[in-house]
């Protein structure tokens, strides 16, 4: 594989893959936040305990 093909593949798939993975993770985190919402009294009660 020549260097140009290697470099372009790394940028497109590597950077694209990183961006896509983190985007998917950000969506999953939003989903988690909606499924397990923060409840002030409950959370603070736990930390007090």
């Amino acid at each position: 594989m020549d260097n140009l093909t290697f470099g372009v593949t790394m940028v497109v798939v590597g950077m694209g893959g990183t961006l896509l993975t983190l985007w998917v993770l950000s969506i999953l985190m939003n989903v988690l936040k909606n499924i397990f919402p923060y409840k002030r009294e409950k959370e603070e009660g736990k930390s007090m305990a």
């Binding site: 290697f6 590597g14 893959g17 993975t21 998917v24 950000s26 988690l32 923060y38």
Partner: protein, 379 residues
Amino acid sequence: MFEAIVSGLNGLVSGFINLHWSNPVMIVVGCVLLYLGIKKDFEPLLLVPIGFGAILVNIPLTGLMEEEGFLKIIYDAGIATELFPLLIFIGIGAMTDFGPLLENPKIFLLGAAGQFGIFLTLILALALGFSKMDSVAIGIIGACDGPTAIYVTSKYAPHLLGAVSVAAYSYMSLVPVIQPPIMKLLTTKEEKMINMGVVKRSVSKTTKILFPLVVTVVGGLIAPRGLPLLGTIMLGNLMKECGVVSRLTKASENEIANIVTLLLGISIGATMDGRVFLKPQTLIVLALGFLAICLDTACGVLFGKVLKVLTGGKVNPLIGAAGISAYPMSARVVQREGQKYNPKNYLLMHAMGANTGGQVGSVMAAAVMLSVLKGMGVI
């Protein structure tokens, strides 16, 4: 008897006789690293052992890096096996609070943008004639993440380990000097003044516990070759967030991290033998590493401008600069720069979110990179 005395004296001067011109130069380099660590407080935990290791290995005939030399034993045990960076990652995970990132998950994207420099530098290194794996190792300096850089370089370009490690840790400590001019250049006064408001506490404990598990499983499935990196940082974070293994968490962030940092530093310093290190190639590696971090910062800020447009002006582009992995220095730089233009602006927690996103981003970028290399059959 005279011959015996001459032979004995010869033993005492053999160190001087075998001194290569590059050895004194590297001893000076070691002293400079010590100076930066001790006097200037630039990453002292790493630069002090690295500097001293560089001095040790440049004294001839010591055999420290030959078979059964103590530095060689440490190197083989922890660097060649990649164990040290992974153990440090458990400590980093245990020390990091991903809360600010979870408050606003879209900031994750800034952590991705902050990794562009890795890939752009990789292309530049290829254009300058470096081999594919050397270019990968040089590009990874842009991760701004010492353990990641060491993990990748020790595996695929061990001859560059000294230069890459010194570049990664030195530039990380120089973030407060490197980033502000780029941030100033790429943003308008109005953008710098954008107030992002107060970060509200809105993440439940369950979400914080599930975060490391989700990242490990999803990230591991997408980029299995990088799972050791991802898995160890997330293990440390799970231990911190679950709150039931505080002894393990404390050991990870204190005793284990401290011991491994010492051994890691001294064995990296031991790779800086003048005969191997002092080459024009090393200077090019250092220059490319610097460029990588500048590109990361620029791409992060530019992506911050994109987010500003997409959110109708709610995002201050300065926080994009914190999308690199230099935690928490980069976030502090953003806070300081923001307050120069708007003293009532508190960007710190937003920048901390981007900064922790950058930590995950740098590890993810390395993981993706390794998996793409495996997919292409390069490794």
